[in-house]
């Protein structure tokens, strides 16, 4: 059993990883913002844009019940392909997984939390294959068009585990501040 802070249900965290300033690397924050706008969840579900936290991830995974991570995934697949991997996939692929720029990433953080006895009970990664991660680029149309599929997968993963998650009656407009340029809004059509 996980330790909880105040005795309520252990938190569920839906987190987006990636840098919003770098094109498709910003898939994670984009996906969780879209998720927040389309679905509403119980009070124990935190939806967090964590950027590129490296080992600082530990503080956000600490003692959670379930963590769903949205992130860009490198694979020999078409850009926009959605991957869903669970923790066993991660562990089995241990030698083949790598965060390109943070050595201390998800796998290391999980191992560390597990040893300390405060790892999340479950973890799922909803990934998308990026097309381009250039500075100041918008998210590519390939990744953008896969976003709804990724978002619905996040909702499905929560529902399958009995976690409160419902489509909103009226969707909330997304706050994609990073898509704003000095010339005005450049927000993608969603």
């Amino acid at each position: 059993m996980n330790k909880t802070a105040v005795g309520g249900p252990a938190p569920v965290r839906v987190v987006g990883l990636g840098n919003v300033l770098l094109g498709d690397d910003g898939f994670g924050p984009l996906a969780i913002e879209m998720f927040r706008c389309k679905y509403e969840c119980g009070a124990n579900v935190d939806i967090l844009d964590l950027g590129t936290p490296g080992l600082d991830l530990a503080a956000y995974l600490y003692a959670a019940e379930l963590v769903v991570i949205a992130d860009a995934v490198h694979a020999q697949e078409k850009p926009g392909t959605v991957w869903v991997c669970c923790e066993d996939d991660l562990t089995a692929r241990r030698a083949q997984l790598r965060l390109t720029d943070h050595d201390q990433g998800v796998v290391e953080t999980l191992g560390l939390l597990r040893l300390a006895g405060c790892a999340p009970s479950g973890i799922v990664i909803v990934g998308v294959v990026p097309k381009s991660c250039g500075l100041g680029e918008s998210v590519s149309s390939a990744v953008l068009s896969s976003c709804p599929l990724a978002v619905d997968n996040i909702a499905r993963l929560l529902l399958e585990r009995g976690i409160d998650c419902r489509p909103r009656q009226v969707p909330v407009p997304p706050n994609l501040w990073w898509q704003r340029t000095s010339d005005g809004w450049n927000a993608p059509k969603l």
Partner: protein
């Protein structure tokens, strides 16, 4: 002569390559190379300075807060805009929370395993370990039971035959010398540290609205509405939560982290002799205690040639010296142009070649202060404070020296702090200072609010002519400065001179190497295939190369490569 190339250096934030030439068991030459482009500032050109900080805090994934803070300070400096005392204290508490998080993560997760050999832990006697730890600290996590639990976990991990996340350590290296009991004590705190990292994030989150990427800043102050009668704002409840978190965090810093750093220093005294490198130090004043930012709780200044008597104080952020002294040289960096430019005139136009040790070899520019390389970071912070006679710095530095003397009988001086071990110790000294200041700044904020002051913001006014500003912050890794030019209410130039740029600086046009490079000279290397000693010195700086990109790779590229050429 062996050429060793470590690419990437692991257990750091970001991407760094170190090349060293080893002869006679010691480093003869060294090159530091950042293998990722660092020109993210260009994204800010033309933008509204009031929202610059929102973008600036995405420069790096780890040090988000510090870039947000330097950005608002730069704009406020350009506008000569004061911020209310409440805003100073709220910002200071955020900065302290962030710094404590950073320093704890660095000491335990990013560097302890260069010194702590976990494979000896099954041999430790937990009773003896508890008594060693109990003699030097009142930390409740040192009980025999707590240590036995950790020992069982490690024994289980080793017994499983799979070290998992620890499989890349240089275990049983001849330079690993702690007793099994000390290894057990430090590793127990390594695991306990996770809980306190979380608490320091919560401090930032309560004040910043969210962490990472705080939401409460504004050019001119903060957006934390203060109303003691409202549930939704900064009220006594929230101040109370903040105080309890700080009261839990402080003992870990003072009784576990600080004591561990002293134990480590006492156990590896020879590391006070290596890694001195560039002995010019720069620290800027921080944690202002008044609206005009004339008084600071952390002093700033410049020390040259390792001589504490040479201290030149930087009194405040309007100091003209630093504005005139800083320039960046691109002779050996992958940018167009030659020689040095002041940041306000700085350009970031890439000019990539391969790694050429006599030509261009890194994405990091070479910042210089009056043409000299400078070392920045907690060591600079502590030396400047010590040389200034700053009571809080003296108190914790002397406390560390006395502890080391009582543990092992070896004398440490401010002179000896200028070393690889000195950087680890200085970071712990700074953390202890900050833990004390955290409670003081909480009190300043609470007293000011109870006095009836609920001001949080002074609105900025942008002139039609061009103005320049610099935002200074003594960040966890050292002096950070954002240099902005604002024209008609938009950024026309933006340059960030970050701590790791100072420390990971390449050679300049005169061929003078930067702090990482020169600190590695004469560093011992017992086995070039396992360059643990090189990592100790590099990690002592807490490297943070711009952590700009972050993706999974499912194709099986190597995790790290140590090439012996």
């Amino acid at each position: 002569m062996a050429r060793v190339s470590i690419d990437p250096v692991t257990r750091i934030e970001g991407h760094l390559r170190i090349d060293v030439e080893v002869d006679g068991g010691a480093v003869q030459q060294a090159w530091a190379s950042c293998t990722m482009w660092r020109g993210i500032e260009t994204i800010l050109l033309g933008r509204d300075p009031r929202e610059g900080w929102v973008f600036a805090q995405r420069f790096c994934g780890v040090c988000t807060t510090v870039h947000a803070m330097a950005s608002v300070r730069a704009v406020e400096d350009a506008l000569q805009l004061e911020i209310p005392p409440n805003a100073q204290y709220i910002r200071n508490l955020i900065l302290i929370g962030h710094a404590l998080h950073d320093h704890i993560v660095h000491f335990y997760q990013l560097s302890a395993l260069d010194w702590v050999d976990i494979t000896t832990i099954p041999k430790a006697n937990p009773g003896r370990a508890a008594s060693i730890a109990g003699n030097v600290s009142a930390w409740p996590g040192n009980s025999q039971r707590a240590l036995e639990e950790v020992q069982n976990k490690v024994t289980g991990l080793i017994g499983s035959g799979q070290l998992g996340i620890f499989s890349h350590g240089y275990w049983s290296h001849p330079a690993m010398r702690l007793s099994p009991e000390l290894n057990l004590i430090l590793f127990a705190h390594y695991l306990q540290a996770l809980e306190f990292q979380r608490k320091s994030c919560q401090v930032v989150g309560i004040l910043g609205g969210k962490t990472p990427h705080i939401q409460n800043l504004a050019v001119g102050g903060v957006m934390n509405a203060i109303n003691l009668n409202s549930l939704a704002t900064m009220n006594m409840d929230r101040l109370g939560m903040l105080q309890s978190l700080l009261q839990e965090l402080v003992p870990f810093v003072q009784q576990a982290y600080f004591v561990d750093a002293c134990l480590l220093a006492a156990s590896y005294p020879e590391w006070f002799r290596y890694g001195r490198g560039v002995a010019n130090y720069l620290a800027v004043p921080d944690l202002p205690v008044d609206a005009k930012a004339t008084k600071f709780d952390l002093p700033g200044g410049v020390i040259v040639n390792g001589n504490l008597g040479s201290l030149h104080r930087i009194q405040n952020w309007r100091d003209q010296g630093i504005r005139a002294a800083v320039a960046e040289d691109v002779t050996h960096a992958w940018y167009q142009g030659e020689g040095a430019q002041r940041p306000w005139q700085g350009k970031t136009a890439p000019d990539y070649t391969d790694f050429r040790e006599n030509g261009k070899y890194t994405w990091v520019k070479a910042p210089r202060y009056n043409s000299q390389p400078m070392q920045v970071g907690p060591l600079a912070n502590v030396l400047v404070g010590y040389a200034s006679g700053h009571p809080l710095t003296r108190k914790w530095t002397d406390n560390a020296f006395n502890r080391i003397l009582s543990f092992q009988g070896s004398t440490v001086t401010p002179e000896a702090l200028q070393s690889t071990m000195g950087r680890y110790l200085a970071r712990a000294i700074r953390s202890a200072m900050l833990s004390e200041l955290a409670l003081q700044h909480w009190q300043l904020l609470t007293d000011n609010i109870l006095k009836g002051d609920d001001t949080i913001y002074n609105p900025p006014q942008f002139p039609q002519h061009e103005v320049e500003g610099v935002g200074l912050h003594e960040a966890p890794r050292g002096t950070l400065s954002h240099w902005v030019v604002i024209d008609k209410g938009a950024f026309s130039n933006y340059q960030a001179v970050v701590p790791t740029t100072w420390n990971a600086s390449p050679r300049d046009e005169k061929g003078v190497p930067g702090p990482y490079e020169s600190s590695l000279l004469a560093n011992p290397v017992a086995d070039p295939a396992k360059p643990l000693e090189v990592l100790r010195t590099v990690h002592s700086f807490d490297p943070c190369m711009a952590c700009a990109c972050h993706t999974f790779d499912v194709n099986g590229r190597e995790i790290a490569q140590v090439k012996v050429l």
